[in-house]
Subunit: 296 residues, 4 copies
């Protein structure tokens, strides 16, 4: 298929490279040129504008946040107006349910197709075509995109005909990760006070009921108190929890742990933790138990 | 080794059977006789009293709660007075840090050895000698018990010379399980309102970052809303969260998620949920989002 | 002074009437005409447009929410463009800190004066010129408005040169009221279960340390479980708590009780409580203690 | 009436003095002798033992906590065995619901009368006979004690025939005070960050809806950050919140604000705040908003 990729950060670059490897005709656009050149060297066609990336069967956006996606979608020369009736927009960024709904409506009004397909996986998984894709949109449109999803991920889950449902799933996943961070932070603060080594404690957990990547990855960061450089910075954590809470408020769903997490992130940022990994909220439970402040 | 086993419930019976299989000389005691007979058929020597089970190298207790352990330990003919200087008491029950400390002191005063060794694993794991043992106590005493631990579990973690540290680890593990239940309950209430199938949602989670037994087991119960018969009843959940909070209060460690969990269990029980599995606290998030009440 | 009043609901009508009584020349504007006529009968000059109400020394807005204030302030013929350099805009509505800042900037850019002056007090207090006015803005501008504030309230507190500070104070006051509702709800659920009469309990509280209007008013509603008709409807409560949380997030201030209140309001609304008084969140503590549901 | 008073701290001494002034025959007992002598100088008869204080119509205990009350009530020469069928025990200490029930049962078994009558008011109110008495017990017994209650307080509320109900009311009152402290702490942290003077803010609150002693007293301490010397020390605050939570757990009443308060007190104590007034938990909201630590 002919696929335009807009956004060549760590995630988008990996996705574009795998689309090329899978035999798709890939056009790439990025605000800064060097990343475009790197992909061109792998066989992609450089695009000079967002509109240029919208002339194939698919235009896939992988950008940092709502503002970045809205900027390339709406306005002059944006995707909404540039993608014709034969070009489907796949939004893979972690964006709000609200923006997803706005995109759905705008594409429908413009006569174009829209599918939301956020992914689970870090940049290494993107590079290895090992992402998990959570897709939602009209069934036939999603079906036809199979070759694209197969090229970038190891498995695709189709969750709804409503694109925004995929964004809700993605955001809820980040909420669950943050819940693990907080609960591990509390448990480690407790056993640490009780004289148990935190690394050994983590070993017990991940050898038994908690043998999942999320416990190994974040448990290691928490036990080592190693929060720099940030894999996913605290302000992004706050942003995602805020997006979860906003989506939940729209659906009238109280989420007490998400409320707690929001308070934790605010406190971490108030203490100057903007540069820390989001797992640094785990230090707050330790501080409250009398440990000295590691966050500032 | 010569090992007495006091308490032949689902867990204790499996442990005793595996000790026999491993070649230990096993004496068994239980309040009700039929369970003693079943083990006798497998090669154990029946004991007529707790004191009779205290004449070997080791007496291992595996009982329901603090009260049951205190009853066989203290008082006339109890383990404290019956176990001589050559008999080590291994406490494998999930008991409070406080009782563990009382046992430590009482055995020390009586000149006997004491090791705390609670286990992670359900009755099936006990039957399969696949438990994870978390042991704490004087290093040489714990070392000498290797053959016992090897006979009942797949791995032993020695966490401290202070026996109560093992109990703290065990209790904190139950806190983490309950945290998973609550956070999954909230996340599922949210995506359910957003039109996503809960079973498919769980499949996404457990295929990705959350591929751990605790998510599979409890996620399945929550998605299916199947809380009877209880694998671990709600009042026991409340009890363990209370024990965690009490231990944490002693160490002056605030645990906000544990506080939330305590409120959840109280609410579930106030609604008549005594017979339900502890994972039924997940229904409360769904109720708060407007779902009808499944708990009563 | 020549004062335009925009918004003649229960609060605005009382304010306009008192301005007339105090001898000011009052022009009134309201979207629906009958309320204008009622004030005209008391001596006010009817205005045909918002712009017409902006030709005096002052234009005071008293409207329902952010949207209503933004609608009369921005856009064609709005206050920002209609109020000249000699007309000060007093905003007395309960609006967001964010909108207050936008108004401050827009008036500054347009060369006009702006003061924020939300009030504490219900419609009866507005009618009796017994409001408490919390004013913020440039000192000389606020000083010059003394005759206006004196006409409508019993006391004026000047809190800052930054107008939005007054809105923050007003919103935080509503947060404190909601905190009283929640804590009374919990306490009454407790003593009720303990066999104590709720009305007598309230009598004890308000006879002693808690002898304030907020306890008497809301305590009475809670003890009587009388939530209809709503004096201040639950969706407005949620809105104000959301505005507090948003303002606090901007300042990076975690407010755990506000987080709890947000969850309470969402739950009440999810159960169908849109028409109830905001004090109906008190029923949730009682429900959680096993009382039957009064909210739906 | 002939009244024995056991416990001559700030509260008990004031109560005993007022009983003397009202014409009762007062016998006094205290562990340390000087306080006994001071009351003897005012006309009381010194008692050499608790039993000696139990020979009149009434023996009133006013002691620091459960342990102190249990010590004088149970055991050899204690009130339970010393008070005959004609001597009613009035317990005015702030004790647990559980101990109140134990006292009720023990007195009933011994054939004596028991009334629980905790008081609201600080030592100054005790000295001025201006306490508020919350009494519970058998109606005729309580009625007969009218002259005692009238001598020590300005008003008596009879809440139940079950003595422990009075203790529940007293404890719930302390919960409500702590709720005010926490919510004021959060609100002041917010407006302080927004540039509003905390003292002026408190003036606004207490001039309007929040014109109650609890806001004036504690608001002043919070605004001034003056937590030493402690009027009521933080460990006592934690103790009372624990007693509320325990009583609520027994009745299966979740109290989310009490759970939050418990975490706050633990954190304050973990930071070394044992000597501070309980209102110092208000500093935690300010710390979380980025203020420097005032608690240690």
């Amino acid at each position: 298929m002919r696929v335009g990729v807009v956004g060549l950060g760590n995630m988008g670059a990996g996705i574009a490279a795998n689309l090329i490897k899978a035999g798709h005709e890939v056009t790439v656009y990025n605000r800064s040129r060097p990343k475009v050149d790197a992909l061109a060297a792998q066989g992609a066609t450089p695009a000079d504008s967002v509109a240029d990336a919208c002339r194939g069967d698919v235009v896939l956006t992988m950008l940092a946040n709502d503002d970045a996606v809205a900027a390339v979608a709406f306005g002059d020369g944006g995707i909404i107006t540039s993608a014709g009736p034969h070009t489907v927009h796949i939004s893979s960024s972690t964006i709000s349910v609200e923006l997803s709904k706005r995109l759905t409506e705008a594409h429908a009004a413009a006569g174009g197709g829209f599918v939301s397909a956020p992914v689970f996986g870090r940049p290494e998984a993107a590079a290895a075509a090992a992402l998990f894709v959570v897709a939602a949109g009209p069934a036939d449109t999603v079906d036809a995109l199979g070759p694209v999803f197969d090229a970038i991920g190891q498995r695709t889950f189709v969750v709804s005909e409503d694109p925004s449902a995929a964004n809700l799933v993605k955001l809820s996943g980040n909420f669950l990760i943050a819940s693990v961070i907080e609960s591990l932070g509390e448990a480690m603060a407790l056993v640490d006070r009780g004289g148990v080594d935190k690394h050994q404690y983590l070993d017990i957990l991940t050898s038994t009921l908690f043998s999942a990547p999320v416990y190994k990855t974040y448990g290691g960061l928490i036990a080592s108190e190693q929060f720099e450089p940030a894999g996913f910075a605290a302000p992004l954590g706050l942003k995602d929890i805020r997006l979860v809470l906003t989506a939940a408020e729209e659906l009238r769903v109280p989420l007490p742990i998400a409320s707690l997490l929001r308070d934790r992130f605010l406190r971490l940022l108030a203490a100057g933790g903007d540069e820390l990994d989001w797992s640094a909220i785990s230090t707050l439970a330790a501080q409250d138990a009398g440990a000295s402040d590691h966050s500032a």
